[in-house]
Symmetry: C3
Subunit: 157 residues, 3 copies
């Protein structure tokens, strides 16, 4: 088990409303299955040979999990907000890159932004992009504060 | 000993002035007993069965401590700023939630905000709120930059 | 090996352009030798008896490294931006302090700011400042987004 170089990762995204912006953020985390853990924010590199999982495992309440996330909250009725993470995986799974974007935009625009960033990140490193993956969430604000989140959660085991 | 799921926690708050906003922040940390450690910012869940302590233990200079904190700095004379953390503990101490608020407001307003957030957090989880605790600090800016902080510091042992 | 109280540290700084602000940030990290790790942001205290190194060691891709950093990004042509970290070392290497500054300013102005902050930090603690070190980067924006970064990266071994 190693907190220092994570072994597994999962991509999740959700949007939600709440009584406050922070509660909307919290409610989105709950939908993503990570509302009862502590996120430790990371910059954005995927360890080599990480195993991608599909379902968030059971972990202790309050466990510290290294996480790359993009988020945006708004309480402006009629606004559409989106958060996206673009993940580029290198050949032979020798590491990868994560880029984040969030803003007052549609999910298609957010995806476009992270795709462009992943491509530049690979180009400047001279890495070959084997696979591009994206998680994105979008919500149009109504009468309550809303949040859009996207995350890559890393697990030490 | 585990950095991954903290074992103890302490609630602290203070306000201070300083030569710059960052020094005011630093001076408040010193008053709180955490000026000589490295805070690693967390999102906001309390592990199950955590032990709450009253006094910050002696720890090595520069130790990394997972911490939830709210802070605000200002250099606008006459302004009142406050930072609060609201902590909700569940029945049987099976986990808890921390919500933060900081802004140009009184400490009573900051407490009101975090109380409302904690109540919503418990309601959406279907958890029963056994105890609500709060730490808050407030300061009215005079002629020097000032900071208000509130923190829940977690300890691995 | 200890993630909890780092053993070594290195000071690095760089500026870069990129296709987006985040790519500019990423390109500066690459120049600093830390583009392929995960930075975990710290507040700003140097453990006692830390060993300062000059060259970033080889570490696994995606390793989590506790890092104090200052950064600024801009896409306003003609603007000069700078990021600096000032490091104060105490007598006998019994700990130190790091203060950050970034803004629309020259590197000389950024250095001036962090020097002032380090001096106040030592004065309020009653510590004796043995040595002041600084890392700084500066860039004037042309036709592409640009970033200036300065970092103290800590290593667990």
């Amino acid at each position: 088990m190693s907190w220092i170089t994570p072994k597994k990762a999962i991509m999740v995204a959700a949007s939600a409303e709440g009584g406050t912006k922070l509660n909307a953020f919290d409610n989105a985390l709950l939908k993503m299955g990570i509302g009862n853990v502590n996120l430790v924010k990371l910059s954005s590199v995927i360890p080599a040979h990480i195993e991608w999982i599909e379902k968030m495992p059971e972990v202790p309440i309050g466990m510290l999990l290294p996480t790359v996330y993009a988020h945006i909250e708004s309480d402006e009725p009629g606004s559409t907000i989106s958060a996206a993470l673009g993940v580029g995986i290198s050949e032979d799974n020798n590491g990868g890159l994560i880029y984040e974007y969030s803003g007052y935009c549609t999910k298609e625009e957010a995806i476009e932004m992270v795709k462009k960033m992943v491509e530049e990140g690979f180009r400047v490193r001279g890495w070959k992009l084997k696979e591009f993956k994206v998680v994105v969430s979008e919500i149009t604000v109504k009468d309550k504060p809303a949040a859009a989140l996207a995350a890559v959660v890393m697990l030490p085991y």
